[in-house]
């Protein structure tokens, strides 16, 4: 272009003679950039971002505004399970995550030791999550890659579990669902449809769905999680061990779980905690039970039907037989103070829960009946000793399930 040439019609800036910006080149750059970011997002989650971790501790979990993606968690599993091993994915809540147990003594490590080399135990539990959250979706998404798999999660007696998980972890469902990683399961599809159509949150949930659909193409959550884990975190969050570390790469944080074995008793069992947890323990099986004519505890029909409906819908039918539901009990520190009658009611509720899950083809097992108060760090979470007992209680059931499912042939 010579200096005497008139300004082209498509120039957006620059001198009268020469444009600074070329709109079509800019658009090409934008599309190229988006394509590169999309490719990078798909690529970075092919390797494990957390090779040193045994679980998703708070600095790589929603506790600190870090939301692990399906790609990230699937890579976490692939890095820990060989194709010739039976995959055991542990989902569920903080009890199975191992709150109160340091990473080197977490119960899933003990479970791995007890089960041996033939199995690979991967802990994908999250604080406060339900049996149908993160670990469940990851296991389901890996059903073809690791067909010999067992999924473990925990509930309290007669605890309901939605097929779409709970709100705090629903980002994982959205990620899995809109990337097409889940089986078609009509009850879940319907529940998600109802969730999205709720008039009170329709606009917000529509945006969220749109975000998940865009992410399925652009992989921005995968890319920026990789960036946050390996380069630096891009914003400050209130959950920080030290404000100076606000932007530190998340993969550099260690799993510094509280050790219940060293935490003084009065910190774990303060008078206010005891008062509150006593009330919770007393109410463990209160809903729906009353005495019948034979002076035995009996669950009301409506409560039973509600629980059975949840159990029927929680997991796709073909995944139920490989799903082991653990029924968690409260610490004997609290339950021993209950009247015999309430203890009987709890046992009835636990038996009803096991029977309810087994009716639909799940495996179910309760634990904690023979545990001592020292096995619990608080009302529900286990100490290292309690975790070891849980592993030893659970392992035979897993082995029996593996045999039953034909995994050991």
């Amino acid at each position: 272009m010579s200096e005497s040439t008139p300004q082209p019609a498509n120039s957006v800036a620059g001198t009268a003679a020469r444009p600074f910006f070329r709109p079509w080149t800019l658009l090409a750059g934008f599309l190229l950039g988006l394509g590169l970011m999309c490719w990078a997002g798909r690529t970075v989650t092919q390797r494990d971002l957390h090779p040193k971790d045994v679980r998703f501790h708070p600095m790589i979990a929603p506790d600190s505004q870090y939301e692990p993606t399906m790609g990230e968690m699937r890579a976490f599993v692939r890095a820990r399970c060989r194709p010739d091993q039976i995959l055991v994915i542990v989902g569920g809540n903080s009890i199975l995550l191992g709150v109160g147990q340091p990473a080197d003594r977490v119960w899933t490590r003990r479970l791995q030791e007890v089960l041996g080399e033939r199995y690979a135990v991967v802990n994908l539990a999250f604080r406060g999550s339900s049996p149908t959250d993160g670990g469940a979706f990851v296991a389901e998404s890996l059903r073809d890659e690791f067909p010999r798999q067992i999924y473990i999660a925990n509930v309290a007696a007669l605890q309901a579990a939605d097929s779409i998980g709970i709100e705090s972890y629903r980002f994982i469902l959205f990620d899995a669902y809109y990337k097409g990683l889940l089986l078609p399961w009509a009850p879940r599809d319907q529940q998600l449809k109802d969730y999205l159509a709720d008039p009170a949150y329709k606009a917000a949930r529509f945006e969220r769905r749109l975000g998940a659909q865009a992410d399925a193409v652009l992989h921005f959550r995968d890319f920026w999680n990789w960036w946050s884990a390996t380069k630096f975190f891009t914003f400050a969050t209130p959950y920080q061990p030290d404000p100076n570390l606000a932007y530190r790469a998340r993969a550099k944080f260690k799993d510094e779980e509280t050790d219940y074995d060293t935490l003084p008793f009065d910190q774990r069992f303060s008078p206010s905690v005891i008062a509150n947890d006593t009330l919770i323990t007393r109410a463990y099986s209160a809903n729906g039970y009353s005495k019948n004519a034979q002076d035995q505890w009996q669950l009301a029909d409506a409560s039973r039907e509600q629980f059975l409906r949840y159990a029927a819908n929680a997991f796709p039918d073909q995944l139920k037989p490989r799903t082991l539901i653990l029924i968690s009990r409260n610490s004997p520190y609290y339950t021993r103070q209950l009247e015999k009658d309430l203890q009987n009611r709890d046992e009835t509720a636990i038996k009803d829960t096991i029977a309810g899950f087994e009716k639909f083809g799940y495996a179910a097992l309760s634990y904690g009946q023979d545990f001592s108060p020292e096995d619990f760090g608080d009302r529900t979470h286990l100490t290292t000793a309690g975790g070891a007992k849980l592993a030893e209680t659970t392992a035979p059931k897993i082995q029996a399930l593996a045999t039953q499912l034909g995994y050991l042939k």
């Binding site: 080149t25 929603p62 891009t234």
Partner: protein
């Protein structure tokens, strides 16, 4: 546009200016994509962390 930059721009040989304008536009496009990609990630995160209390 500051005068000094305008003068510099006007004095550049034509092929160089054309090349620079294409390169600059491409870079700005890539940068815009990078920013959009980050914004999409950031707006999808919750505004507050998930608070969990064990006891």
């Amino acid at each position: 546009m500051p005068t000094a930059i305008r003068k510099f721009w006007d004095q550049l040989p034509s092929p160089t200016a054309t090349l620079l304008s294409h390169f600059g536009s491409l870079a700005v496009g890539v940068l815009a994509a990078f920013i959009l990609h980050y914004v999409l990630y950031r707006i999808g995160l919750p505004s507050k962390p998930f608070i969990y209390v064990a006891f």
